[in-house]
């Protein structure tokens, strides 16, 4: 670990939530415009977090805040591992820890709304995790290693060989960002059957922690999309931004579906196109140059 690495780590730790916060603000702005409203200021998510931190630490179960801290630190860890080009399979497992921590945190409150949300989020894991690991496998097949170094050093974009996995990953992004039509575990809109889903019983600093973790998660998830065109960082970043804007638009033009529907979509269409893509990589034996 040299000075540059430490500087980079600090930069990520400080920069990522700022980017995530602005992304979240843009989301709210665009959504408002699409709905014919003016919308909140761009930095509204920051003001929200600031206000949440000034509130009392109101909990149902004294241990519930432990899980959101685990959620936050593991999101940060997976982002750092991504930035430092670690083993991609490993990153996915670390990311799973974070996702599970939030689910268990929701369930630990014992509230019926939270448990409904958590149960649905568990089904979301069942939908997206195979796709994520197949994405890791595609990286291995293209570069001969699970470490991200090879992808980031390559001179040609990965997207050329993995178009189907890219499509599947866009859907995964949609599920992971908990945007409509897959916003059934927790939702920004006060739907009656769900209230606030997993995070129903969180308020004040605990909820602020979740929001901050979400900022990191936005960066991490768009980072996964960035990898598809990592050979040219500018195009890669653009790809990430376009994917994110696309999700916002989808969020606004679709209605929530049943979780069963998502599971069917994932285990039929998404898995099959991913496996077809993987089969192509096996058969053709192409390598990322």
């Amino acid at each position: 670990m040299n000075t540059n690495d430490i500087l980079l780590a600090v930069l990520v730790l400080i920069g990522a939530p700022i980017i995530g916060c602005i992304a979240s603000g843009i989301d709210r702005k665009i959504t408002a415009r699409l709905q014919g409203r003016v919308g909140p200021p761009l930095l509204q998510p920051y003001y929200d977090v600031k206000k949440l931190l000034s509130k009392d630490n109101m909990v149902v179960n004294p241990t519930q805040n432990f899980y959101v801290i685990v959620y936050l630190v593991f999101i940060v860890l997976s982002l750092l591992m991504l930035v430092f080009k670690q083993d991609f399979l490993m990153i996915i497992f670390v990311y799973t820890v974070a996702s599970l921590a939030l689910i268990v945190g929701g369930m630990s409150t014992g509230s019926p709304y939270a448990r409904v949300g958590s149960s649905r989020e568990i089904m979301a894991i069942l939908s997206y995790e195979p796709v994520l690991i197949l994405y890791a496998l595609a990286i291995y097949l293209l570069t001969g290693t699970f470490k991200l170094t090879a992808v980031l050093d390559a001179s040609s974009p990965m997207l050329m060989y993995t178009p189907l996995i890219f499509i599947a990953m866009i859907v995964v992004l949609n599920i992971k960002l908990k945007k409509s039509p897959f916003d059934y575990s927790t939702s920004h809109h006060g739907h009656q059957e769900l209230v606030k889903g997993m995070t129903t019983e969180y308020g004040g600093p605990g909820f602020a922690t979740i929001e901050i973790a979400h900022f990191y998660e936005y960066v991490f998830l768009t980072g996964l999309i960035f990898l598809f065109w990592a050979s040219n960082p500018i195009i890669g970043v653009l790809l990430g931004i376009i994917a994110y804007l696309l999700i916002i638009v989808i969020d606004n033009i679709t209605a929530r579906v049943y979780w069963q529907w998502m599971l069917k979509l994932s285990w039929s269409v998404l898995l099959i196109i991913s496996i077809v893509n993987i089969a192509f990589l096996y058969v053709s034996g192409v390598q990322l140059a």
């Binding site: 805040n65 685990v70 490993m90 820890v97 409150t109 014992g110 568990i122």
Partner: protein, 639 residues
């Protein structure tokens, strides 16, 4: 001296089993403590003695060989007698076939001049598992069985402890024996012990399930003995290590012994309850929880995967190996899917065991140094975690009177320590930085060269996360009532805490364990070691890196942050948010409905019975697994 330790490892458990019979019930507690301490001491001593081969030649050999013969005759007679007594004709038929095979072996197969016990690093690991985890389970039983028998009006503890201790002795013999004839004896002894333990309750269900276990394991035993006969008559191989020496890593030699090796593997599959043999292990849960814990973690099922891993040099890289890998990974994904639909905690654990054994077999089948290392490590980590989970389930059942996962919600308020330990066990099964996930990661990286296997592993892995996450969330969810009061006995809570600690310690020192045990063993089996290095708290292979140290640090950091911030921001507790229509003093989960009366809200987990239910998947599982076994056999005879 290694010879003495080896002999003691077989004699001491048998001695203890006799002591359990001879001494009164009131002393069992002290006996179990003594057994645990001696078991730990002996197994550690064996590791300190190092590796080696213990040869047993004349004049002792003749005596031992006679004992072996007498015992084998006794086993067969017992099976015939008991199956005739209960009029269980299929078992009787299988017993007769076994007897015929035994007679054939006795008359036609040339005898051996001496026997040998082979203590390599793998045997050392198995001995550690059997004698530390196994005796911890017996210790747990002393705090468990009285209440169990009280509920069921039984008084058979003498038989129980006798068989449990004897089981450990047989298992010790099995993992050390190199001579195939002796291995077979210990193999049949464990089958017999499991039969006695499964039918412990002596009710109809118990006896039926006991016979199912006996019959399916006899099928495995028959495959095993045919394999041994073939090896002895056609290739003059009479030892387990001899198979490896004969086949080497040479493709042509491998092809010639493929059929007997495949038969031995089928014996292993039956013992490890792989599909289509899985029903015996599911039936085994009618027995008291310590029995399930023993069968699932430290003994019985491990014998099967132990044999398969030992046979790796005879199929690594061959088409038989590929068939075994596909078969194992199929069991992994199928049983993970089945576990998803189960509400009964013991059934979830049973399917999880079968799935993980499938993963071990898949790793062995892949046969690269990396994969074989993963297989051996998974046996170790799985044994510890699964023993803990089973014992916790037993203790939960005694605390809340149910083994239904849905009934366990709110357990964290009722029995915090027990819940924490159970949660640790579950987390160690599916999340980094713990050992089981590390080995799963290694096997996934190793399997990435085989498309079918890796896709099965990916799906199975996602399913595993889901079924454990549901259970984990349920036990950790808080409830507002605190009715059940856990009864904390040192005999039950010491083994639980000990196993919990063992999970953490083995996961932290995973690289030392790898270096000391696994690496030399893989070198013995495959003549090359996996390219793994362990600098800077990372498990680095040629294709990836597992940064377990970083995760431990981050986990510790999370705990520290939590403790530091716990009392900041004016903490207050409040009640559930129920949209303003709740908060009756007596039960805070009440809603007011449209008729202005109150109804309790209840939320349960999602089990997807209609997709992954046993009725939907079991037949499919049987069909595909039988086809895969036939393919393995066909590959064996070179079709």
């Amino acid at each position: 001296m290694i010879e003495n330790t080896v002999m003691l490892l077989i004699i001491v458990p048998i001695l203890f089993s006799l002591l359990f019979v001879a001494l009164p019930k009131s002393l069992y507690k002290y006996l179990a403590w003594a057994f645990f301490i001696i078991g730990v001491a002996l197994s550690v001593n064996l590791v300190l003695d190092g590796t080696g081969v213990v040869q047993i030649g004349e004049p002792n050999f003749a005596m031992f060989e006679n004992i072996v013969l007498i015992l084998e005759v006794l086993i067969i007679l017992f099976i015939l007698a008991v199956s005739a007594k209960y009029k269980n004709w299929p078992t009787l038929g299988l017993g007769i076939v076994s007897a015929a095979l035994f007679a054939y072996t006795f008359t036609n197969v040339p005898g051996v001049e001496g026997a040998s016990l082979n203590i390599d690093q793998f045997s050392q690991i198995m001995i550690l598992i059997v004698n530390i985890v196994g005796t911890a389970i017996i210790l747990f039983a002393t705090g468990y069985m009285d209440e169990y028998e009280e509920h069921r009006h039984l008084n058979r503890q003498k038989i129980f402890y006798f068989t449990m201790s004897f089981f450990l002795g047989a298992m010790n013999g099995l993992v050390m024996a190199d001579t195939l004839g002796w291995l077979f004896l210990f193999w049949e002894l464990t089958t017999l012990c499991s039969f006695v333990l499964i039918s412990y309750n002596m009710d109809e269900e118990g006896i039926n399930n006991g016979f199912r276990a006996l019959a399916l394991n006899l099928v495995g035993g028959i495959a095993l003995s045919i394999g041994i006969i073939l090896l002895a008559t056609k290739y003059e191989i009479s030892t387990l290590s001899g198979i490896g020496t004969y086949a080497g890593t040479d493709a042509a030699a491998m092809a010639t012994v493929a059929l007997p090796v495949a038969l031995l593997c089928i014996g292993g599959f039956a013992k490890s309850a792989q599909m289509p043999f899985q029903s015996w292990l599911l039936g085994a849960m009618v027995a008291p929880t310590p029995v399930s814990a023993l069968l699932h973690s430290s003994t019985m099922v491990n014998a099967g995967v132990f044999l398969v891993v030992k046979l790796v040099p005879a199929f690594a890289g061959s088409s038989l190996g590929t068939a075994i890998a596909v078969y194992g990974s199929f069991t992994f994904v199928m049983c993970s899917a089945l576990a998803l639909s189960q509400r009964n905690a013991k059934r979830v654990l049973a399917y999880s065991t079968i799935a993980n054994l499938g993963l071990i077999i898949a790793s062995a089948g892949i046969g690269t140094p990396l994969a074989v290392a993963a297989a051996i490590m998974l046996i170790l980590f799985h044994a510890i975690s699964k023993a803990l989970l089973f014992l916790c389930t037993g203790e939960i059942e005694h605390t809340i009177g149910s083994r239904d996962i849905e009934d366990m919600s709110g357990l964290i308020n009722k029995a915090p320590l027990l819940t924490t330990l159970a949660a640790l066990g579950m987390v160690s099964m599916l999340l980094p930085p713990f050992g089981v996930l590390l080995t799963k990661w290694v096997s996934m990286e190793a399997a990435s060269s085989n498309p079918v296997v890796i896709v099965f592993l990916v799906l199975g892995s996602a399913l595993t996360t889901v079924y454990y996450a549901k259970w984990l969330g349920t036990i950790l969810s808080s409830s507002m009532d605190k009715n059940a009061v856990p009864h904390k006995k040192p005999e039950t809570y010491f083994p639980l805490s000990f196993l919990g600690l063992a999970i953490v310690v083995t996961s932290i020192f995973v690289f030392s364990i790898y270096n000391y045990f696994i690496k030399p063993q893989v070198e013995i089996l495959l003549k090359t070691a996996p390219v793994i290095s362990g600098q800077a708290g990372q498990f680095t292979s040629e294709i990836g890196a597992f940064a377990y140290a970083a995760i431990f640090v981050v986990l510790a950091l999370a705990v520290l942050i939590y403790l530091a911030t716990k009392n900041m921001f004016t903490p207050r507790t409040s009640s559930y948010y129920m949209c303003g229509e709740n908060n009756l003093e007596k039960d805070r989960l009440m809603f007011r409905n449209g008729l202005c009366s109150y109804e309790k809200s209840s939320v349960s987990n999602i089990y997807l019975q209609n997709t992954f239910g046993e009725s939907k998947l079991t037949t499919l599982g049987y069909a595909i697994s039988i086809i895969l076994i036939v393919i393995a056999l066909a590959g064996g005879v070179g079709l």
